[in-house]
Symmetry: C2
Subunit: 473 residues, 2 copies
């Protein structure tokens, strides 16, 4: 494809994208498709002859786009917001357009240095002191695995450089709670800790926050049994109910024992830019690592997860390779981000954050986040005023967890009812909500925070829920 | 940023990108910058007030772009080609524009299903049988780690679900060669195998290919010493000299012993689409996993690494999590790609492959790859005809490894001379080449294969090298 063919096709695509975003509200939130329905519309064998870009755009419009769940839709309340602010989409275009390669400082000095600058801007905006050093990972899942590996090697004095984990003289223990994201367990397993040594620490029954006294007891018990406490993963805003493990208390228990503290703030980290919400993260300064995803509520298009570390030199020692074909003529002073994570080749992800911060500006982002916090409190208040509805977890941020319980419905009947009404809402295409488990029973999360969601959308949601839960629906 | 503001700014950006690609040859290949020079041009504190997109584009043009190594430049012969065909850039735009979220089938059915279709197209185009099942990973580094983890859990009957690696009764051994990519060692260390149990199998002194007899002996020695041979990573096209480990012989040695065979064809996998080159991969059918990067020579913009597995169900068992908040109403028949790798959230990467294959067409891609193979052979022939030049490794594909050795120069003097002339070339901005080690001495890799590189660029390179190596330069 020549630059001029690209130019013509890209202009058409840009218009299609802008139009599509402008009328997102006219479409269903969730496509009404069953598994295999999209792929059945595509040829099973590879294309034999090239086609004009316009034909591909036509299929994008007619086959692909109708099969996408519209997470930019104002009536999307599922999972967590996955905002792709158009300013960050523009930055992503710039990254793709540059077509540069991040395998070393030398392979794209700007890729490395803009990343250094932008992650430091975000450090300042989130109130982290200058002793934190940042990098962009793809996701919080990967960041959690990186933290686990770093903690593992710190606890074993770099056992990977000799016998590996098979040479362990004591099992290594991981501490988190039942509320932690599934990626925490996954990371612990992949890092080789073993499921037997993942400790799910008790949580406060109301807030679902980790109990630091229970953590202290678990660490002490493992020490007494000749096991090595290695890492605590604190959830700052859990996926289920936005629980906030008490970082200050966790650090107080863990740091003196040399236990690594990783703070998983994948979703809630966006709130770090709001000074009035900073108290939820008290104690963060004492942690070893932190990750949060601008690609969620904050609005930077996926994938963009910020990871900050207190001691990047330790991580570099765990991750670094220095093959002759990548040796830099730039000498030791250049940052080599390949040694801060798993993949060698990295995209120019910093541009999407750079574009977003410069074009939207942090104050507009803050205003939007505050709107969502207000909306969530307002929504929770409406549920509390309605008969038969229960808000089943504290609304710490922008997620409201509810159950509809007519006539004191309970047990399996309540579960059936919950899954029934949420399915009715979701299949209608008018709104999308995520059911989730709480105390082994289903509840429904209303995760407020899509960029385009205003109060009127919450009002419409309440109407939809009223219909979906009514006996006649 | 509103859709209309985005539309206007994106149109300008598209023109900038098309112009920039059209005149790539007018710029230096490598920017003449030192570490810190780009970041020094950016504010150290976050932007306080929003600016117009045009101002950001101006800084992209004036500060960022001049700090990018132009890997799309026809005189770029460094590392490996990192082609970003404009058709795939367009597909990347479509992905960014859709702003969709890949955390489950339900979060974007089209994201999952287009990926299934496109990786199967590539399976067919690369002559893999229908028993291979594919997924897009970010990089071959990650794919290698995923293979290591899968092999580890197969060898230990899923020890991660109980005691983890600490409960091993035998050390687990990894086999590869000194020529393997640095990410292989990194993956082995991160997966917990331990450096003591990474075996670098002898290579043929001329081809640098793994010797299967040496592999067999190493496996036998480890078994005799009560260690567990777990995984062989075969390099199909090594980074240094494009060595091809003999997959058929490696499979013959490994498979009967239950040793996992992972084929790392990161660069050379592109050649799988050429039937006449397929012999380099003989035996592939017997491997357990394969990865190769369309984001290299093939032309799909970074990041796009294809990974194929014989037994994805095993991988899913190693990687899967099924938290309540991600449970699908689609039932078990939908593919959940989150269980095929490390990150939960995934971009819609399949679109860039879909666009490229449909717009460029496979025949044009094949023609380009064949042009590069011809060019590399032609270039090697020129070096062979020139006095003082040596081609120091067989030219198996598109990389030509050379030394300039005037007056029988040897030892440290030869190293000094090599690094001198390659530095002169690279700092000139006229071409870019990667020095690399071979037999503990520096040589220079001329990696042919940028989309825009024609014969005339090789002719120019030869002139540049003549000047750079002349005593007076």
């Amino acid at each position: 494809m020549t630059p001029d063919e690209f130019r013509a096709a890209a202009h058409e695509l840009v218009d299609w994208i802008a139009d599509r975003r402008a009328d997102v509200e006219s479409r269903p939130v969730r496509p009404n498709v069953v598994p295999g329905e999209i792929s059945a519309q595509l040829p099973t064998t590879p294309p034999a002859v090239p086609v004009d870009a316009r034909e591909v755009l036509s299929d994008l419009d007619g086959i692909v786009a109708p099969g996408v769940t519209e997470v930019q839709h104002p009536m999307h309340f599922g999972w967590f917001p996955s905002n792709a602010s158009l300013s960050s989409v523009l930055g992503d275009f710039a990254s793709s357009g540059l077509g540069s390669l991040g395998i070393s400082w030398e392979s794209s000095p700007a890729l490395t240095e803009v990343e250094e600058v932008v992650v430091d801007w975000l450090r300042q905006l989130t109130g982290l002191d200058a002793g934190w050093h940042g990098v962009i990972q793809d996701t919080a899942s990967s960041a959690c695995l990186v933290a686990m590996l770093a903690a593992r090697e710190r606890a074993t004095d770099h056992l990977q450089t000799t016998t590996g984990l098979g040479g362990l003289d004591q099992p290594l223990c991981v501490y988190t709670t039942s509320e932690a994201h599934s990626s925490v367990r996954k990371a612990a397993l992949l890092a080789g800790f073993g499921a037997d040594f993942i400790r799910l620490i008790d949580v406060d029954p109301t807030t679902r926050d980790m109990r630091a006294d229970a953590l202290a007891a678990a660490i002490a018990a493992d020490r007494a049994a000749d096991r090595r406490p290695t890492i605590v993963v604190a959830s700052a805003g859990s996926t289920g109910t936005t629980a906030f493990d008490p970082i200050d208390e966790i650090v107080a228990v863990s740091a003196p024992q040399g236990v690594w503290v990783h703070v998983d703030a994948a979703m809630a980290g966006s709130a770090l830019v709001l000074p009035e919400m900073r108290h939820l993260f008290d104690g963060l300064e004492g942690a070893d690592s932190l990750s949060w995803n601008p690609h969620k509520w904050f609005g930077t298009i996926l994938d963009c997860s910020l990871m900050y570390l207190r001691d990047p030199d330790h991580l570099i020692r765990v991750m670094s390779t220095n093959p002759s074909y990548l040796r830099s003529t730039a000498g030791g002073e250049a940052t080599q981000y390949r040694d801060w994570g798993i993949p060698l080749g990295r995209r120019f992800r910093a541009l999407k954050l750079w574009y977003q911060l410069r074009i939207d500006g942090i104050e507009a982002i803050r205003t939007r986040l505050r709107r969502d916090l207000d909306n969530a409190q307002w929504l929770a208040e409406q549920f509390r005023l309605l008969p038969e509805w229960e808000v089943v977890a504290p609304v710490r941020l922008q997620t409201v967890c509810v159950r509809h319980r007519p006539d004191g419905l309970d047990g399996d009947d309540l579960d059936t009812h919950t899954l029934d009404w949420v399915r009715r809402v979701n299949t209608s295409g008018s709104a999308f909500l995520s059911p989730s488990m709480l105390d082994d029973r289903w509840m429904v999360r209303v995760s407020v925070g899509v960029e385009s969601t205003e109060r009127r959308h919450l009002e419409r949601l309440l109407e939809l829920l009223s219909t979906a839960t009514s006996p006649r629906s």
